[in-house]
Subunit: 386 residues, 4 copies
C-alpha cells in the first residue's frame, strides 16, 4: 500500500510531500520529477506566478544512489517567492499584523466555509492551503508512481478535451498522440481545436473572466484485475474518483463514456467480449466502460474524464461580504491564472498514477522492483493461460 500526504501553503516557505510504501530498487532522480513539475507549469492563460516559480524538487530521503531504498520519500518544492512573503507568512508571531487580515471571502473558494469551520478571522489562513499550489507537491509524489508504472510498461497520460466551447469531438486519443499533446501549450492533441481554445481564453481574459474545462486521463498497458469488486471501498473506480475529486476545482468525474452511458440502451453500451487466440488474450472491440468493470481494470485502456470549474479568482471580482462589517463588498483579488486546465490534467495523471501504483502493489505484493516484476510476470502468465 502506497500512502502519500502533502503539506505547504501557497506563499509559505515550501511544499512538502511524503510518499511511502514504495518498493526498493526503483530508479529515479530529481530531474525526472522536475520534468513533471515543469509539465504542470505549461499552459496558455497561466498567470504571472508561473514565471516566478520554476519548480524544482529536492529529494531529502528515501532515494540513495539513484534508487529508492524502500524508506519513505520526502520531497520539498520551495516557493521561490517566499522571501517577499516572510512577514505575511511568518511562522513565528513576528510578522503578526491584524491590519493585514483578508476579510472578503471569494466565491468559489474554500474561504468562507473555511473561516467558519476553523474559526479564523483572516481568510488567508484558509486560502493559503486551499490553493491549487498544493498540487505541485502531488505531482512530485505522483512522479514516483508514474516511474513505477513505467517499469511495467503502463503509460499514463492526459489531454485537454474542452475549454469553453472549444472541444475535441469523439476523437480517440491514444498514446501515439503523446508527442502532439506534450508539444501543445494547452495539452490538446488537435492543433485546430487548440487554436479555438486559445481564442476562447483570449476572449475570456479580455473580459477579466476565467475558464475551466474538461480533461481526460488515459492509461494504457494495464493488466486486468487491479482493484476489486468485493467491498465498496476497494473498487478502483471509487478510489480514483476520490483522487480526482480531491484536485482543486474539479466538480465531476466519469469513466469511459460516463454520463452518456446513462442515456443509451445496454446493447449500445456494454463492451462485448472477444478472444484473440494467437496472443491468448481477451479483448473488446469497444471501450465504453473506460477499462473498468465491477471496480476492476479489464485490460482495456482506462479512461477517466474530469470537469474543472473556472478559476475562482477573477480580475473582475465577484460580490462578497466583509466578515466584520457584514456589508457587501467586492471579494479579495488574488493573483491567478485565467485557465489552468492543462495543469489540472497533469495533476490528474499524478492522482491516477498513485492509485494505480497502489493497486498494482496490492496485486503483486513485493518489496522490491525485482520481486514485483517477478510476481507480475507470473500473473500475466496466469491470465494468458487461464
Amino acid at each position: 500500500m502506497i500512502r502519500y500526504i502533502t503539506a505547504g501553503e501557497s506563499h509559505g516557505q515550501s511544499l512538502t510531500a511524503i510518499i511511502e510504501g514504495l518498493p526498493a530498487g526503483l530508479s529515479i532522480d530529481e530531474e525526472y520529477i522536475n520534468r513533471h513539475l515543469a509539465r504542470r507549469q505549461v499552459g496558455y492563460g497561466r498567470g504571472e506566478r508561473m514565471n516566478i516559480e520554476k519548480d524544482k524538487v529536492q529529494i531529502t530521503s528515501g532515494v540513495r544512489w539513484g534508487e529508492t531504498i524502500a524508506s519513505p520519500v520526502a520531497l520539498i518544492v520551495n516557493n521561490k517567492d517566499w522571501e517577499n512573503w516572510g512577514s505575511t507568512m511568518s511562522v513565528d508571531s513576528s510578522g503578526k499584523n491584524p491590519d493585514e487580515h483578508l476579510l472578503k471571502p471569494r466565491p468559489g473558494h474554500a474561504d468562507l466555509p473555511g473561516i467558519l469551520k476553523y474559526d479564523r478571522e483572516d481568510v488567508r489562513d484558509i486560502l493559503e492551503r486551499a490553493s491549487a499550489r498544493e498540487t505541485a507537491a502531488r505531482v512530485a509524489a505522483g512522479a514516483f508512481a508514474l516511474r513505477l508504472l513505467e517499469e511495467f510498461d503502463i503509460k499514463v497520460f492526459s489531454y485537454s478535451v474542452k475549454i469553453g466551447n472549444a472541444g475535441l469531438e469523439n476523437l480517440e486519443v491514444t498514446s501515439k498522440d503523446i508527442d502532439l499533446i506534450e508539444a501543445s501549450a494547452l495539452r490538446c492533441p488537435s492543433p485546430e481545436v487548440e487554436k479555438i481554445m486559445i481564442e476562447e481564453i483570449d476572449t475570456v481574459q479580455k473580459n477579466k473572466d476565467t475558464l475551466g474545462g474538461i480533461f481526460t486521463v488515459r492509461v494504457e498497458g494495464l493488466p486486468p484485475g487491479l482493484g476489486s469488486h468485493v467491498q465498496w471501498d476497494r473498487k478502483l473506480d471509487a478510489r480514483i474518483a476520490a483522487a480526482i475529486l480531491s484536485i482543486q476545482a474539479i466538480k465531476g468525474v466519469e469513466f469511459g463514456i460516463g454520463f452518456k452511458s446513462a442515456t443509451l440502451p445496454g446493447s449500445k453500451v456494454h463492451d462485448e467480449i472477444s478472444y484473440e487466440k494467437q496472443e491468448k488474450k481477451y479483448y473488446r472491440k469497444t471501450n465504453n466502460a473506460g477499462g473498468i468493470e465491477g471496480g476492476m481494470t479489464n485490460g482495456e485502456p482506462l479512461i477517466i474524464t474530469a470537469a474543472m470549474k473556472p478559476i475562482s479568482s477573477l480580475m473582475k471580482p465577484l460580490k462578497s461580504v466583509n466578515t466584520i462589517t457584514k456589508e457587501p463588498v467586492a471579494s479579495e483579488k488574488v493573483r491567478s491564472d485565467v485557465c489552468a486546465l492543462p495543469a489540472a490534467g497533469v495533476v490528474g495523471e499524478a492522482a491516477v498514477a498513485l492509485e494505480l501504483a497502489s493497486a498494482l502493489m496490492e496485486k503483486t505484493g513485493g518489496d522490491s522492483i525485482r520481486e514485483m516484476k517477478r510476481n507480475y510476470k507470473a500473473y500475466l502468465d496466469q491470465v494468458r493461460n487461464f
Copy 2:
C-alpha cells in the same frame, strides 16, 4: 468516525452489514430500516426478483430498547429465495458440482476481470458478490446515518433526473417535492416526465434491452464546514465521490452544475456571497457549486448527480467467449431488471448519508446524541456570531 462494511452473496443465505462508530442514544427500530429497504425495491421496470424479496432487516446487535448503545450494529437481510439455491450456493462442499460452472462472462459485469484476478473457474464465484443485491445491505446501514442526520434536521433525498431520453430540464427540486417523489414509481418529481420515462422503459423492454439513467441526491439543512480543504483525502466531495462510484453500475458523478461548469466563464459559475442580517447568516443566491467549496459544505444544499449505466444483464444476451473453449458464445443470462435507476437513487442517499454522518461526527465529536447536539448547537452559535 463511522465505519461500515458489508458481506453477502446475491443468492447466498443472507446479506450482512456491520456499522460502527455510531453515537449512543439514537432512536431507531427495524421498521424504520425496512421502510428504506422497501424504498430500494420500488420501481417500474424491476424484474421478478423484486416480487420474491420483500427485504426485512434483523438487527442482531448494537441496538437495545430502541436505541443505539454505541456498540457495533450488525444487520442481517435474509435472501428469501435462498432455499432454492442451497446446493448451488452451499457453504460446504456438499453442493459442489463443476457441471454447474458458469463459463460465459457477461460484458459490463465484474465477471471477466473477476475470474482472471481471483483465478476462479466459475463465473458465479464473482457475480454473486458483484451483484447490486449487495446494496440492500448498504441501504440498511445507511438508514442509521439517515436517522442520525434527521436528529440534526438534515434532510437527504434523491430523485430520478433522466431515463433514456426523458429528463427533467433545469427543474429545481427541493424537499417540498419529497411527497411527489415518494409517490412516483420512478422516483421522479414530475408526473409528465415520469410518463415519458415509463414509455422509454416499455420500449426498451420490448427490445429485450436495458436502461440506466441519471439521479440526484440532494441534502438540505447542512451547516457550513463539514469536510476539509487541508488534505486531499479529507475533502468531502472526494469522499462522497468514492461512495457514489462504489455503487454498482455508476459511471460518473458531479457536484452542483458539474460538467456544465467546465464550459462557462467564472462570472457565470461562482456563487456570490450575501448576508442576511436578521438571521445572521451568509447565503448564496445561486448554488452552482452544489453546496461544496474547497472540499467543505458551505451551508447551501448539497447536490450530487450520478450517471448509471444500463443494466448489464440483457434478455438478448451480448457476445462473449466460453472461458474453456475460447469460442464465441452468447453471455450468461441472469435474471435482472430493465432499469434500476430509482433503486440506485435510494442507494445513493445511503452512501451520501454515511459520509455526511461521519463528517458530522468529526465536527461535533461526541459519543452520544446528547453530546453531539450540545456541541452542534454551540457550533451553530459560533457560526452565527462569527
Copy 3:
C-alpha cells in the same frame, strides 16, 4: 490487506464478525472453526456459562463449495442463552424497563468509564459489549487466518506460562509440545506445573476471588521479512502489540525475553547471526529477540508473551458507588469464570494469526491461494539465493 470487525453483545442474539480481504481458494469449513471455538471454551476454572454455550459458527457468506471466493466472510455465533434474555436485551423498546438498570459499576471493567463517556444510565449498555464474550467472534475470524497460515506451513500455537504463583520456568516449548498443550485443561505443556496451577485456582475459588496469568503465543515456520522498519505503524511488533492489548483483560505484552532484555547487557541479549551452508539459511543459536528485529520477522520463531489481569467480576464483590445515590455499594455481581487464561491464549493465537496473515498477503500480494503460493515460493528462493 485483511480487515476484520466484530459486533455483538454478551447476552444479545448473536455475535457477528466480518473478515475480508482473504484470497480466493482457501479450503475451510464450519467444523474447522468450531474446533477453534471449542478450544476457546476449555479450561479449568471456567464458569457456568461455558456449559450453556457450545459455540457453533454459521458462515453466511464468502465461502462456497468449501472454499473462500474472495468476497467478505460473514460469521455468526448465536448466543444460546439468548431466549432467557429476550426482554433485558430486546432490540425494540418492548423490553424497556428502567427498574432493571444496573447502577453499580464494577472495578476493573469498562463499566464506569463507559457510562460516563457514552452518557448511559444503565451499566448494562456498556458491559454487554465490553465482555470477553466478544472474543468468540474474534476466534471465528482468526480461524480463517490460521487456516491461511497452515497453507504456508506456518504454525501458530499458545500455552499458559503462569497462573498465580505457578509457572513454567525457562522451559522452551515448541510445536512438538502441541499435543501436550491441547490435552491440558489449562493449556499448560507441563503436567506438573498444571497440577499446581489447578491448586492455585482451587484456592482462589474458595476465596471467591479470581486469577489472571501469563500466556505465550509462538509461531514457527515464518519467513524473514514480514512487517517493515520503514514507518512506525508498519512495524509488525507494533501491530501485534495492538492486537494483543485489544484482548479483554490484557495488561502487558512482550516479545522474546521482553522485559528481561531491559536488564541484561547487549552481549547477552542480541542473537548472533550464523549461516547454514547446506540449507543456504541464516539462523540464530539463541532467540532472545523472539523472532523479530526492526519490526520484521527474522526467520526464527515468533514469541509473544502477554499478561492477563485477574477476572474483574468477583463472587465477593468489590466496592463501588451507586451511580444515582452516589453512596458506597458492593458492585454488580455478574456470572463469571475464576480464571480464563487458557481461553485468552486461544484468542491470542487468533489475534496474532490475523496480523500475520495480513502481513503475509502484503508480502506475496496475490488474490488467490495459488497466486500467493507461487509468489511465496519465489520469495523463499530469493532469500535462499541471496
Copy 4:
C-alpha cells in the same frame, strides 16, 4: 483524527515529519519543539553523535504568526553531519560505490531481515532508516500533541525506572517530581538510584557492552472516556501499545502494574470505586489499572511502562556472517550510544501524546482550540453531573 508520518535517513540530509489533523489556533513555536528535541538528546552514556547534532527544527508549513492554521504541519530536522556523508548518502547516483557496501549485518538490528525482505545488497540501505535517529522526527511531531494537551491541563512526562540492575522500587512518581527528573542526566527522579545507574553504565562501557532499561510514561489530568471498548482497534491501550512498540528497541509494554497483575488475585488488583461528593468526582484509592479500563481512560493517571533492549551496536562486535562469502565475521561497527534509555522515555512521551491528542479530538471534535475547549468543558460538566 491526527495523522503523522516521518521520513529521513540517519545520515541523510534531514528528517521530515508531517503531522496533520490538528485544530487551528494552537500556539506553538520552534523554540518549544527544540526544547523537546534537546530533552531527547540528554543522557549519560550517549555517544559522540549527541555532540555533533544539536537538533533544531524548522517548521515549513501549518503554523502562521505563532499559531496552527489547521493545515498540515511539515517539520524538518537537518542532520548537521550530512556534509560528511554527501557521497555515501547521495540521492543521485554520483556517490554510488559498491566498494562501500556494508556486508556484515548486526544482530539485534533490522539489518538482516531488511536486506532479505527488500532484496538489497548494502546493509546501509536498511540501517539508515531503521536507526533510532528517526525518533527525532517523532519527538518534533509529538511536541504538537504535547502542546495541545497542555491546553487541557493534561501533563505527559516520563522517567527512567531501571537501568541494568539499578531501579526504582515501588516509588510512586508524580508530576511533582518533574523538576527532579528534568534535572537528571538519566531522567531518574531519585538521585540515589541515578548514581547506581551511572555506575552500571560505566561498568558496561568499560566492557564495550551496552544497556537498555525500563521507563514509564505517566499522564495526569486526563478525563474519563478517551478511547473505547466497542471495537478491538478503538481501544486506547491497544493504540498506545502499538505506538510504544513502534519505538526502536522497545520489546515490551505494560499498563499499570501490568505483568504483576497476572500473578495476584482479583481482590488485590482491581481498583475499587469511590466518590468525592464535594468535587462530584469518581475516584480510586489505588491505580493498579494504570488509568485504563475497558480500553478507556478512567480518570486516574495513565501509567505506561516499556522495556528497552540494550543498544544493538556494541563496540565489541557480535558475530555475524558476510552476506557475500557467507563466512563468519564480526558484525559492522557503527557509532552508537551505550545506553539511550532517557531518550527513549522522551520518545515515549511523544508517542503517547500523539495517541492521546487524537483520542481527545475524537471526544471533543472541534476544528479549533476554542471549539475543542468549549466542547471539552461541556463534557466535563456532563461527567460531573452524571
